[in-house]
Amino acid sequence: MIEIIIAFFLTIATIIGLAMTFGWRNLYFRLLSHDIKKWQTEGWISPENAALLLADKRPKGLAGRLVFLVGLLGALLLLFSAVSFVAANWDDMSRLSRLIWLIIILWTTFLVSWRLTANEHPRLAEIAYTLGIGLFGVNITLIAQMFHIDSHPPNGVLMWTIGALVAAALLRSKAALALTFIGAITWSMMEVLTYQELIHWPFLMVWGAAFGLTLWMRWSFANHLAFISLLIWTITSIIHYGDWSSHGTLSLFIMMFLLMLAVAFVWQIKNTQTQPYGFATWLERYAIIGLLPSLFFLQTLPIIVSRGLYAPGTISRDSNGSMLQGSFGWFPLTSLLLIGTVLLLVMSWREKLLRRLDLVFFVAIAASTLLYALISSPYAFETDGWLIAKETHKFLTTWIYGAAFLTMLIWLIAFGHRRGSDLYVWAALATFAVEVLYIYFSIFGSLLETSLFFLVGGILTIGLAYFLYRLHQRLEEPSTPASEVPS
């Protein structure tokens, strides 16, 4: 019964998907041309205008991202229904006929995609390629099932990824290239998370091949996929190599994002003529999106993750780890990144892309992050005041960190405003709001009586809203010179 219900919904969804893919634009065009004809006979529009309007709205292949996405969804559903169909009739087939079926379905899908490409339906062809590569994955799974293969699941994902890479290279299929990146990172994550590879280096080989293909195909969206997959791999490797709950690991991320920012600035100096804000802009965006949450979480670590940081006797000394894996394992790499970041920032400042104040703030963030991570290391407490006393650390985290972070955010808002970047302003504003709420909850929340808590909470929240409103209003005002402001 459940199979019938699933099959019913799948069919309906597929039909809707396909109908939207094929019919939506045509239907709209037909209705419009009917109306235009009517308006023309009424004399409301001239024949020239009618022709222009029709030419504008005539369906050109398959347009629109929504249509593409719905079509993609339809392809996925078709894939799912194909799998269910084969699975339902699986038991009655011999191994050979199963294999033949699998190969026939695969070939048919690819040949249809090929004809669609030749007939200038590139988007529909990409959907069909997605389906084909998905089916290749299904074939791998089903063959594994046929022969009871259960040895190392990531190998299956790797095989699928290589298949997608081959398809992407030979057919220049964007869908295949996107699936290659998805496959590669899935494979790597499976190896790292399930099979505990310390750092999964082979990922870089597959990634490199896919990235080379991206450059060759000149598909800008794949650049993002390449970057995101590499970022996920890097972050996972660092977390896996070090310890997620340590300040050091997080400081390494912060330094990584700062370095990305610095690279973006320098890139802008070098390429202002040829490529105004391509690569640099999105590198900057990724860096900002990564940097602000990391800086926020750095202060919450002693509270949310390593509760043991303030509790006596619960920190385990990792005496066996080498310098690179122990409690200070992050330190050499973070310092190296810090040096690189500072050098690049100074370079940007000398080229007058950064003001002196900006340089000071960036360097201050980098240096204080390293320092904070260093004094938050378990060794700092274990040796009884070797670097800092526990109470001092608590005070520092609660008061100094919060104040410094808020100041930095205000500067970032100004910096973003000056550069005309909405992302900086909004990201900083959002983080500012979160930080204020965090401080409010962590400091005041636990001290006050319930009614007072809500009263103060309400006032503070309204105050915050007012402050944000004023701040935003100021930023919205045109930056006119003082002499022109009417008195």
């Binding site: 699986w90 294999l99 040949l111 004809r115 799974t141 022969f147 298949g163 057919l171």
Partner: protein
């Protein structure tokens, strides 16, 4: 050389004439993908044809996989090896303590030797596939865990858990159900004991709810009855598993070069109940 262009030009497919270059590209892609799948099948088929056949004691447990159809999880006798109890153990063989023991997910090779009962049993574990393996059979396994349970840090109870890649047996719905039922088969003694325990637990819960009215002593008595019954139940279940493992076995083929194993059949009470056909 035959010129195919006019042939394709006159026979359009989907409206446009066929382009020979793109046809070659798509065929090349499809050949590569098919070859990859073919290599996967060929590897298994040649292993099933040429591998050394061994019979391994096992017990079916915990079936089902929603995504990949029905399967039965198989737990082998050789899945957990207590190193000192192995036939090949000698004083000069090294049993590492946990710290420098077998690394998780590392490959190891277990030497198998046939017993008079017809089953194959583990002889000794090697970290590398030995060079001298003319008449010997080695199965490749991956380390799941390695632990030594002893306060004295002696090597008496060091256990190695391994996976051989033959732990899942995919079957159709009917066969999977049969195997599952077999796995759940239990002696009447177990069924009876389970029933008693359930009833006792029920009255225990009821007593607790009326705790204020009831005598505390009653509850204590009940819980005192429950503890030995539960212990007995777990012992019986373990025994049941052992009994089943003595009846049920997997026929596997092992590749001489790599030690890789593949399931080629199932056996119940010395009779083959399922045999893999190659195609």
């Amino acid at each position: 050389m035959i010129n195919l262009k006019p042939y394709f030009k006159d026979r359009p497919f989907f409206g446009r004439p066929l382009d020979l270059k793109s046809l070659i590209t798509i065929l090349a892609t499809l050949f590569i993908l098919t070859l990859m799948l073919g290599a996967m099948v060929w590897g298994r088929v040649s292993l099933l044809q040429n591998g050394t056949q061994v019979v391994l004691k096992t017990a079916p447990v915990d079936p089902r996989d929603l995504l990949r159809g029905y399967f039965v999880r198989l737990s082998y006798d050789i899945s957990r090896l207590e190193l000192k109890k192995l036939a090949g153990y000698r004083q000069d063989r090294q049993i590492p303590l946990k710290r420098d023991g077998y690394k998780k997910h590392a490959n190891v090779y277990v030497e198998l030797r046939p017993m008079s009962s017809g089953f194959w049993s583990p002889y000794w574990v090697y970290r590398f596939l030995p060079q001298d393996r003319k008449e010997r059979v080695f199965i490749r396994g991956r380390v799941r865990s390695y632990s030594c349970r002893s306060r004295m840090r002696s090597k008496d109870r060091c256990t190695l858990s391994l996976r051989y890649g033959i732990e899942k047996f995919f079957a159709d719905k009917t066969r999977a159900k049969k195997l599952e039922d077999f796995g759940r088969q239990q002696s009447t003694e177990i069924t009876e004991l389970r029933k008693q325990i359930r009833e006792l637990e029920k009255s225990y819960r009821q007593q607790r709810q009326k705790q204020k009215k009831a005598e505390r002593q009653d509850i204590k008595d009940l819980s005192a009855q429950l503890v030995p019954m539960r212990t007995k139940l777990s012992k019986l279940i373990a025994q049941n598993r052992l009994n089943m493992a003595n009846r049920f076995a997997v026929i596997a083929r092992i590749d001489k070069q790599s030690g890789e194993a593949a399931i080629s059949g199932l056996q119940l009470d010395d009779k083959a109940i399922y045999e893999e056909r190659l195609f």
